[in-house]
Amino acid sequence: MRSDEQPPFEAPWQAQAFAMTVHLNECGVFTWSEWADALATERKRSADAGIADAPDQYYLDWLRALEGLLTRRGEAAAEDLTAFREAWVAAYETTPHGHPVHLEKGFEALGKPAPEGARR
């Protein structure tokens, strides 16, 4: 059940999701209580669904809680998240190995602009 000194994160995306949450809380987008409620809800949902509690599951629940909270707040519409995810996939798939991957290229490859309201 224990291992004393382990790295706090097992993958970069976990650290990124963690940092985004801390940052958005500090910027006042949500309170820490609101965040803890959102995370607790997702943790319970996974447990109730009988999903094995692997270390990865914790941050998958964390990510779902963050997406859900921001979507409910109108800060990140579900369709925008889908569009950005698709654009990133297209960007990876059209960028040769060893080159920097740019999101803009993904939107270009898909032949559609970034969603309204999500532009600079």
Binding site: W13, A17, F18, M20, A36, L81, E93, P100
Partner: protein, 221 residues
């Protein structure tokens, strides 16, 4: 945003041309990237701030902070009293301040009372003094069993408590986080604060262990 992608397999010319694109990250990484890039464009997220937060939690914030607090409470009775009366202020005095406005409470182990901390709902934890919680603290098994059978859980951590010792369980929340002050080990009367801090483990400050002793610490502490 610029992602530097490195080659994920040796150069080879005998695979399809189609595969010669950048490696697509796993699903959760893509979702995090989508979220971050969307919020960055909306001006809600500053990628530089994210870097700084990760850096801080990977390097600067960890159980060594809590160990210094505990060691100070072992050598300075006035500080110990302050810590028990107003942990938030006493901990801030040593330079450790919560980022989420949380209230800290310190609880002391004695010959008759052993304190154990859990977060039954999610994973609330005193980051400021202990860093990011370990996997077991976040696990469903620990959260449920610490409440149901704390003695058995402690035994698995190698802590066999006498039946006469009361176990007090503290359920952390977003607002209140607990720090356990373990008992000062015997045979350390002439130790200084810095050497004492090396005896204070993360598990001991959650209540899932005791402080190390001069025998178990090893090294030249």
């Amino acid at each position: 945003m610029v992602m530097t992608v490195t080659r994920d397999r040796p150069m080879s010319h005998d695979h399809d041309h189609d595969h010669d694109h950048s490696h697509v990250p796993p699903e959760p990484a893509l979702r995090v990237q989508a979220l971050e890039s969307l919020l960055t464009r909306k001006g809600l997220v500053d990628p530089g701030a994210l870097e700084a937060i990760i850096e801080t939690y990977s390097n600067d914030v960890g159980p060594r902070n809590g160990a210094r607090v505990v060691a100070r409470s072992w050598v300075d009775p006035e500080y110990r009293q302050w810590l028990l009366d107003d942990a938030t202020a006493a901990i801030a005095h040593l330079g450790y301040q919560g980022r989420q406005g949380e209230h800290m409470v310190a609880v002391e182990n004695t010959d008759r009372v052993h304190n154990l901390v859990v977060c039954t709902l999610c994973s609330c934890y005193p980051w400021t003094v202990l860093g990011i919680p370990p996997t077991w603290y976040k696990s469903e098994a620990y959260r449920a069993r610490a409440v149901r059978e704390p003695r058995a859980v402690l035994r698995e951590f190698g802590l066999d408590l006498d039946d006469s010792v009361d176990i007090r369980l503290w359920d952390s929340t977003a607002e209140i986080r607990y720090l356990v002050i373990p008992q000062r080990p015997a045979g350390t009367d002439d130790w200084n604060e810095e050497a004492l801090a090396d005896l204070v483990t993360r598990d001991a400050m959650v209540g899932a262990g005791r402080a190390l002793t001069p025998d178990t610490a090893g090294g030249d502490a």
